[in-house]
């Protein structure tokens, strides 16, 4: 009995519920593709279409089978040298949405991204200026040059750090820096 229970537990742990996945999602995907032909294994196993350079053959044909495409497909079964260039292009566009050159073409989106990033960053400068004008009080008096000099003079008078610091660099006999 314990043996049986152990086996059931192990099987339940490793088994993927295949039927439940297939019935729930695949039917929904199939409804989405309409009467497009499902011709291959999608990059995630679903009948979907994306132009990707690393997965160039999508699972479904891009266009649904219209009567004129069906005529072309019949013609495609014959000699390809007898097809005109327009028919070949129509066949390509029936299977695929964009060519490699098209889906890899630069979109120019980076210009907008860069522009808006700089615009938003500059907003921070406007906020800082607003704070400076309307919020912050003026800087304290002790930050003026005169006060800073007086502060330094006082530190020298107190002999701050006389061994290897500030006061060690001051010549007290001649009243200047060493």
């Amino acid at each position: 009995m314990a043996n049986f229970l152990l086996r059931r537990a192990l099987l339940d742990a490793v088994r993927v519920p295949v039927c439940s996945r297939a019935s729930s999602s695949s039917v929904g995907e199939l409804a989405k593709i309409g009467n497009r032909e499902w011709v291959g294994y999608g990059f995630n196993g679903q009948p979907n279409y994306v132009d990707r350079p690393d997965f160039p053959m999508p699972a479904v044909r891009f266009r649904a089978d219209t009567p004129d495409i069906k005529v072309l497909r019949e013609k495609e079964k014959g000699d390809w040298r007898k097809l005109t260039l327009e028919e070949k292009k129509a066949l390509y566009r029936a299977s695929f949405c964009q060519t490699f050159a098209e889906f890899q073409a630069p979109t120019g989106e980076w210009k907008g991204v860069l522009g808006w990033s700089l615009a938003v960053a500059s907003l921070a400068i406007w906020i800082y200026m607003g704070m400076k004008i309307f919020v912050y009080s003026p800087l304290p008096e002790s930050l003026s040059e005169e006060n800073q000099k007086a502060q330094l003079r006082r530190m020298l008078d107190l002999k701050v750090n006389p061994i290897d610091g500030l006061a060690s660099k001051w010549d007290y006999e001649n009243n200047r820096w060493k």
Binding site: N3, P56, E76
Partner: protein, 151 residues
């Protein structure tokens, strides 16, 4: 009891680890320390895969997508076999798309490798009546997509 339980465990593990059937496009062994497939063997394997008489569009796409996911440019003889396979299943678009994909695989050496590929597969192209992407005007963007937000 413990012995029988461990025996069952071994059976379950063996069933889950050893695949039931082998698929031809997948190498036999993916563990380290095994036999290493040489480039020639790889080319022959894919050439034979595309040369199968009963190949269907599903398998061709699978083989092409696998090749495009690898760090390599397919050998011209693989491309030729793939073009013949496209001819057998009557899919012109697939043939052009595969040449485009191979061009994309050349990366930044496209000016060195792609002319060589075209030169090698040229007889097959004219035999089957396949145009290169350049002859179809697909080396430059031809159509623009309508923005989905404007539809």
């Amino acid at each position: 009891m413990l012995k029988s339980a461990s025996g069952a465990l071994v059976n379950v593990l063996r069933k889950s680890l050893v695949p039931a059937a082998r698929i031809s496009a997948v190498p036999l062994r993916r563990s380290h320390g095994g036999p290493v497939e040489s480039d020639e063997e790889f080319d022959c394997r894919y050439e034979q895969f595309f040369n199968r008489k009963d190949i269907d569009g599903w398998e061709i796409r699978k083989g092409m997508n696998d090749l495009c996911g690898m760090d390599l440019v397919p050998d011209p003889k693989i491309i030729k076999a793939a073009l013949h396979a496209c001819r057998r299943v009557n899919d012109y678009a697939l043939a052009v798309r595969f040449i485009e994909a191979c061009k994309d695989k050349c990366g930044n050496k496209v000016n060195e490798i792609y002319p060589y590929i075209i030169q090698e597969i040229k007889p097959t192209l004219s035999e089957l009546g396949i145009e290169t992407p350049e002859e179809l005007g697909y080396d430059k963007p031809e159509l623009a997509l309508e923005n989905v937000y404007d539809m």
